[in-house]
Structures are given as C-alpha cells and as structure tokens.
C-alpha cells in the first residue's frame, strides 16, 4: 500500500495555473473558426485528455510513481481538471497542423517545435508546483514521450480525416 505525500495544502499558484490554463484553452477552442466536423473536433480534444490520463494515471504511477500531479500524490479533483487541460493542447496541435497545411516532409519539424512548446508548458507547470518528479524522472523523458505521442497523433490525424471524409460521403 502506498502512503500519500502532501506537497502543499493551500489554494495557490498551481491551482490557478490549471484553472487559467483550462479556461484560456477552452476559450481558444471555442473562439477559433471551425476547421473540422464536430465529431473530429471532439476526438481531437479527447486525444489530449486520454493521453494525459494514460500517462499520468498509468505510466506515471506504475510500477513506481515517476511524478505526482497537484498538491498530493493521491488523486484530487484538481488533478482531473489538469487532465482536461490537455484537451485544448491536442486540439490546437491538430488545428495548427491543418491550418498551416504542413506537408508530410515537414512533419518531423512540426512535431519537434510542438514538443518543445509542450516541454515549455510542462516546465512552467513544474515550477509552479503542478508536477512533482521523482525516481529520476525529468524533462528529458517527457521530451521523448512528446515526440512519440505527437508522431502518433499525426498518424491518427490522417487516418481519422480519411475516415471522416469517407463517412460523410456514404449515405
């Protein structure tokens, strides 16, 4: 049985980071002109939340807790909000990719820039106390995860766009 670690027990910068980040992200998603079908937009938003929950609650916890999110190592409501915060990130990732009409040969460059931006936000989260690393975990491992994950997202982007286009043609 694991014991809970308390990092902080006040409503401070890390909670504000999550709330402001989430509100700004959702506002951006709502304000931006629509580029995809409703279903695709929803899925692009969900990809971030799902990837976040997979990494934060499975890989981040098992076999050892490589990092904790929020004030405590146990799961809190604010941790759930921080998962939702990943949604606008993934949506914007797909949105900008489609908006810029990135050609496949420039994909790796786009993924690199996006991974660096993600890393920047994660570092900011680390400094305000949203993330607490342990067991040697650090930004270098996150960087690899971003590169792999965002490459997978690009693959899914083409696949889903194809499926969506096909389903809108079919009666």
């Amino acid at each position: 049985m694991t014991t809970s670690i308390v990092y902080d027990n006040r409503f401070n910068l890390n909670e504000w980071f999550v709330i402001v980040g989430l509100l700004l992200g959702v506002a951006t998603v709502v304000i931006l002109p629509r580029r995809f079908s409703r279903k695709l937009s929803m899925l692009f938003f969900l990809f971030g939340v799902t990837s976040g929950s997979f990494f934060d609650l499975s890989l981040g916890v098992l076999p050892v807790s490589f990092y904790d999110v929020g004030d405590e190592s146990s799961y809190q409501f604010m941790d759930f909000l921080s998962l939702v915060m990943y949604g606008p990130f993934s949506y914007l990732f797909f949105y900008v990719y489609d908006f810029m009409k990135v050609r496949p040969k420039y994909c790796p460059l786009y993924i690199l820039v996006s991974a660096l931006i993600s890393l920047g936000f994660e570092s900011l989260g680390y400094y305000v106390g949203v993330f607490h690393y342990s067991h040697g975990y650090g930004w270098q491992i996150s960087f690899i995860i971003y590169l792999v994950l965002e490459s997978l997202w690009i693959l899914l982007f083409y696949l889903l766009r194809h499926v969506d286009a096909r389903s809108s043609i079919e009666p």
Binding site: S37, L62, P63
Partner: protein, 160 residues
C-alpha cells in the same frame, strides 16, 4: 506468468473484437475508447491510491500486466458491450450479449485478484458487489457517451 496470461488474454479480446460484427462507426469506437480509458483509469486510480481498496503491487510484472489490462482488455470488453447495445436484433439477444460481457468483466476482475495482479483489501463479498456495480456503471457511462457522440454527429449532418 501473470504478464503472459494478461497479454494473451488481451490478445484474445482483440481477436474477438475484430471478428464480431459491429454496428458503431470507426469514429464512434475511437470516442468510446478514449472515454472508457479516461473513466476507467480515473476510477481504478481512486480505488488504488485514494481508497486503498484494490491496490496494485509496485513490481514490474503486475504493473505491466495492469497497464495492458487497463489499456486493452477492459476498454475493448466495454466497447463490445456498448456495440452490442446498438444491435437491431431482439431485446433478448442484446441483453444476453451485454449481460454476458458484464459478467465476463467481473469474473476477469476476480481472476486478476487470484493471479495477484491486483490485491483486494476487503472481504470478497464486498469486492464482488463493488466490481458488479463498477462495471455496470462503466458500461452505462460508455453507452451514454456514445449516444451523445452519435447525436453530436447527427446534428452536424443536419446543420450541414
């Protein structure tokens, strides 16, 4: 052996999933998978880290077996159940399929406990009832989300 059994079982579920006739579209399935992963990992984490009722040994083999189960086996079983709920065949067939998958999920959870992939900390009856309720809620929640997602798409078609 635990990891081998869990991986083999996950692969068996993948085979069943690919072979059964499906009603939901690819996009519906992807949404269902995302929602299921989000909901199940949250609930399992709460059971493990917050309530300490069903914990996972922090050793590599049970941990990886748990990850495989969480990422492949359980979402696919729930997807099979929700897809069965969409079938146009009679009510009896539909409920038999969903009930069967629900029962399967519960027995699988007890099986994981027997394998020591997860550890129950209360009386077996308590876990039997909680597993029963948990999987029922998982399937119900996934079904509601799929319904909403499909409705979402239909609105786009009408609006377009």
């Amino acid at each position: 052996m635990q990891l081998f059994i869990c991986v083999s079982f996950a692969w068996f579920v993948i085979i069943v999933f690919t072979l059964i006739p499906k009603r939901l579209s690819t996009l519906d399935f992807i949404c269902l998978y995302c929602v299921t992963i989000l909901f199940t990992t949250t609930v399992f984490t709460l059971f493990d880290i917050n309530f300490h009722t069903v914990t996972i040994p922090r050793t590599p083999i049970p941990s990886f077996a748990t990850i495989i189960t969480r990422v492949v086996t359980i979402p696919l079983l729930i997807m099979i159940a929700v897809d069965a709920l969409q079938t146009s065949s009679g009510h009896k067939v539909r409920w038999f399929l969903v009930g069967g998958t629900w029962l399967f999920c519960m027995v699988f959870d007890w099986f994981l406990s027997a394998l020591k992939v997860i550890i129950y900390h209360k009386a077996f009856l308590w876990h039997a009832i909680s597993t029963c309720i948990t999987y029922f809620v998982f399937i119900l929640f996934a079904w509601v989300c799929t319904k909403l997602f499909k409705l979402f798409g239909e609105k786009t078609v009408r609006a377009g």
